[in-house]
Symmetry: C2
Subunit: 343 residues, 2 copies
């Protein structure tokens, strides 16, 4: 669990903002610490005192908090002592190598963007999420952007393709990730103007294995390793996917309570569904990672349980160990994809 040089990875963890409460955060931090990841946890020392007793965990006071209903940019600028702002700054100051929060997504992204800054030439960072094919093994599909930016120009989409491919390769171990654009048809002429232009640009590029467009139905088919879209479409799509999976699962559960025979069937089937239930649990992926920055930042799932918190920290540590940021910067430079478009 150490990196190539044998040194321990240190993660700055936001000690506030977990929806399910501090006990959940503490339980998650314990699990991650048990894996040999060093933690610096920012928040209320009293509430976090249990963690301070662990050998590789430091608790640092951060008296302020950014709530979900605050405008992120203004709040991050104003609240220098908010736990997420202090945690992100800790990485910039060189005390930690990655920042993780299961608090408000907007504040986490903003604090990370301000503290870690963008890789030279990257105009917009993107939020990337791992999607597993239900009932299938193998590396997950990376979808990005799932919400860092509401709009994306063709040049942004091209950069997302490169940072997404780099993440898939470095962190998920996919040797030659198949990169696709999310659109409304396979043909190069299908989609918005930005998607059509991005398609043309990617088709001409080396250093990325661009397989063309995929459609919404391909997100869970394993047809691509990286699916690129703008943050509006990505966020709507992601929530549609989560909502549909939940609605279908709950309708199956409802059917299994509809009569005694179905109830018996449901009970017999239950153990076999355990794996699917675990796989569909958002706690598994550890949340989303912000790509395109000069450091590692992970945004935990809003309703993270202890495993969700632990997996978010593990994802951040893995990205540090695998040198995801450095490898992304190198790829962008080699590909020339970091040259700004004329604006």
């Amino acid at each position: 669990l150490n990196d190539a040089a044998g040194t321990t990875v240190t993660v700055a963890l936001d000690g506030r903002g977990v929806e399910r409460g501090t006990a959940t955060l503490i339980a998650g931090a314990r699990k991650a610490a048990a894996d040999g990841i060093a933690l610096r946890v920012f928040g209320d020392p009293e509430a976090l005192s249990e963690l301070a007793e662990l050998p590789a965990v430091d608790v640092i006071e951060a008296p302020d908090e950014i709530r979900n209903d605050e405008e992120p940019v203004a709040a991050v600028r104003r609240k220098k002592d908010a736990s997420i702002v202090r945690a992100a700054a800790d990485v910039a100051e060189g005390n930690s190598q990655a920042v993780v929060s299961a608090g408000p997504t907007g504040a986490t992204m903003t604090a990370a963007l301000f503290a870690l800054r963008r890789i030279s030439g990257v105009r917009r960072p993107a939020l990337a999420l791992q999607l597993s094919v239900p009932g299938r093994e193998g590396p997950p599909t990376v979808m990005l952007d799932v919400g860092a930016n509401a709009e994306a120009r063709s040049h942004d989409l091209v950069q997302f393709a490169f940072v997404g491919a780099s993440f898939s390769r470095a962190v998920l171990g996919v040797a030659e990730p198949r990169v696709a654009l999310l659109s409304v048809g396979e043909e190069a002429s299908k989609g918005t103007q930005n998607v059509i232009e991005a398609h043309d640009q990617l088709a001409d590029m080396d250093h990325v294995n661009f397989i063309g467009n995929v459609e919404g139905r391909d997100l869970l088919s394993g047809a691509a390793d990286v699916v690129v879209t703008d943050g509006f479409t990505g966020n709507v799509t992601l929530k549609t996917l989560e909502g549909t999976a939940k609605a279908v699962a709950s309708a199956v559960g409802q059917a299994a309570r509809s009569n005694p025979m179905a109830m018996a069937g449901g009970l017999l089937l239950r153990p076999a569904l355990g794996g699917l239930r675990r796989q569909m649990n958002p706690d598994n992926t550890g949340g989303a990672i912000l790509l395109g920055l000069r450091g590692v930042a992970v945004v935990g799932h809003g309703s993270s349980g202890a495993d969700g918190v632990a997996n978010a920290v593990r994802l951040a540590a893995r990205a540090v160990r695998e040198r995801a940021v450095e490898r992304t910067a190198t790829l962008l430079e080699e590909a020339g994809a970091m040259r700004g478009e004329p604006t």
Copy 2:
């Protein structure tokens, strides 16, 4: 099944392009005709000879066909004798009151747009689809645009809200449809620039029950009766929804084959799942309806079975009987939503 005046509705049906073959089309047309809907079917008289024997069905020769791989606008312009072009023209000529096709979506939309033209002031027609909440009764949620236009300006989104609400009221019988914008958060400030502007405009309007933004997870929650979005997002979202439902259902099926106990459970549960399976079958909704035109046009689901064809014809007939087009035009006029934006 007759309209208020007691006259029969006549539907022009494209007799070509059904993926599952002409036998499926014939079986579907038979079902619709049995409901008292008069049909004029355009295609190959020999292949459709069975239908010509039915009392309220005319078969009209249309020697040409538009295939899925043809560019719709060019093909519709060139092939005056294509079955979908002739069927759409039949409505314009006053022989039929609605056009239905289970052939290529692009060609059907283009032929309908050219032949039926837009309601005065409507800039873009929108394709609307009905979504049912799995395991729940009650009127479906109407989502539009699911693919007529890749991009939509705020003014287009506002018009979609009105034509969608009008459809929900007239055809689905929802007295005061709750209309929402699909976005990435509930707040009025969330989304693309076009969505934010449309939110502002709708919030100020009478004649529509605008409830604000909904997210992707709300498409199957019944939170809104009409969900408005651009055709790119709508199409990607719809296919994500279909793909996710299929992936989860298939993973449940896979689990039910994984061991003898699970297999027994699956067999016992099977009858209770029948209703859900029927509800999730896209044949049920009869496909999508093109709104904003001066006539009724329905695009059947690509892989329609006989029930899909029949339900597409039934949907078209219902829209005619309920005077959906006239009521939409009146609503737009009253609301002033048909005034073009300054361009």
